[in-house]
């Protein structure tokens, strides 16, 4: 299939172009973003329309391997909720979840606007509990019984913001950032289907199609963020040039550059063919 016997120099130029196409947008973000899809906006609206002082719960149901896609969603949702004056409870159905939560809160606090957010007052990290759906069922009758202590071992009563919280019903919204089972599906089944708490969430791009059926008339899922693209859309909605936007910029630039390279390759091949035809023509004459 190799028609263009492209020289080494040509290859190296292509490599350099790709390197720059990815590196430059990472250092100098463009903030292109893309058209916001309706279901990503729905997810945004849920947090956006919740009044100040209410509680949101983010469940960190992923581990380090899917951090690229899910972490930016977590950070964006935390910043969004804080900007609206809401309080955030972090839980996890995956063992590595509490670390993911901690990293996300730290990242969000790096934004000067939220540097003063205080642990125990504006957010808590309750930690990981084994059991999946059974744990969620138990949280339906008492969150405190499931989490007598937070992830660092502090007692529930020593965390002032938890005073107003008894069961899942006391939450204004739940968001599960989920890379598998248990995760988003279990939250929909318990928090939404049983307790009628609005549930939204984020997944990797690969598993997003499987959740689309839940974004239906009953709003089993109140919108969904699927992959890096949706994460960048969310960042655009909260007016933030975050990591997802940057990475998505790099992706878009690289894709366009590859398309340009294909065009260029065709032009070169066409020229070569013509040069060759001229040459043989010359010989015949």
């Amino acid at each position: 299939m190799s028609v263009n016997t492209s020289s080494h120099t040509e290859r190296r130029i292509v490599f350099l172009i790709i390197f720059l196409a990815v590196m430059v947008p990472l250092i100098f973000p463009i903030g292109w973003g893309s058209e916001v899809s309706p279901i990503a906006r729905m997810s945004y609206d849920l947090i956006d329309e919740t009044p100040a002082g209410k509680y949101g719960l983010i469940s960190f149901d992923y581990e380090a391997s899917t951090i690229t896609e899910l972490q930016p969603m977590a950070v964006a949702q935390i910043e969004h909720a804080w900007s609206k004056g809401q309080k955030i409870i972090a839980t996890a159905l995956w063992p590595q979840g509490p670390q993911m939560a901690e990293a996300s809160f730290a990242e969000a606090k790096r934004n000067p606007a939220y540097a003063d957010k205080e642990y125990g007052v504006d957010y808590v990290n309750l930690g990981y509990k084994v059991g999946g759906i059974v744990t969620l069922q138990a949280m339906g009758s008492s969150i405190r019984d499931v989490y007598p202590k937070d992830s660092s071992g502090k007692n529930w009563d020593d965390l002032p913001m938890l005073k107003g919280i008894r069961t899942l019903k006391d939450l204004a919204w739940v968001s599960s950032l989920s890379s598998g089972v248990p995760g988003l599906k279990e939250w929909v089944m318990i928090a939404h289907d049983v307790h009628n708490v609005p549930v939204t969430g984020g997944t990797t791009a690969v598993s997003a199609p499987g959740f689309l059926p839940y974004v239906n008339d009953q709003k089993q899922l109140h919108g969904l963020l699927g992959g890096l693209k949706a994460a960048s859309e969310y960042e655009m909605l909260i007016d933030k040039k975050g990591p997802a936007t940057t990475k998505m910029d790099a992706q878009s630039v690289a894709h366009i550059v590859i398309l340009l390279l294909i065009t260029l390759g065709n032009i070169t091949a066409f020229r070569r063919k013509r040069a060759k035809a001229n040459l043989t023509g010359g010989q015949n004459a």
């Binding site: 190296r12 490599f15 990815v22 973000p29 690289a254 894709h255």
Partner: protein, 212 residues
Amino acid sequence: MPDLMNTIGIWLAAFFTFCIFSFLYRDNPFYKLAEQIFVGLSAGYGLIYVVYSTMVPNLFAKLSQDFSGNLILLIPFALGLMMLTRIYPKTQWISRYPISIVIGTSAAISVMRSLKTDLLLQVGATIINPFQGSTASEISGNLLVIIGTLCGVYFFYFSKKQEGLAKIPSKIGVYFLMVSFGATFGYTVMARISLLIGRLEFLRKDWLHIIN
């Protein structure tokens, strides 16, 4: 101290990242260095990993804790030792016993798995009523799946010269293959660019601390 060592670690990682990237320009001493370190380290890693994750828990720990209850494990143990007879040319033939058992069982496992997941389930998935779709694009898509699968399977038919009429379905099969190859290629671009983003993000954030 751990902080300093961590910084050194990041510099090491950055150094090796550049060593590998340098291969894109041409083979060079840095790549040769990285390549040999990579091969050596990974072979060592593999050996240690297998000892800690398979040999100890699945064999040695079981045998030392409850020897009589795990007598059956002496079979793989013996077969494994027989593999080692390859070290001496004279005893090499003994290693054919474990190899033949491994190949016999895995051939049968593969036959069963392929028959079930790749043949039976795929055939079943193609048996659809194409007109059941609700939209024109769904119906046309169903028809494409059926035609493409049938012609594609026929493309691999070896017992007949593919000429005249027999050539047509096989040609159509090739067209489907080409569309699929192109589409898969295009679909993979994003995942591959992501890998590069990952590496460059490491260089930018962890190594150079450029925050934007």
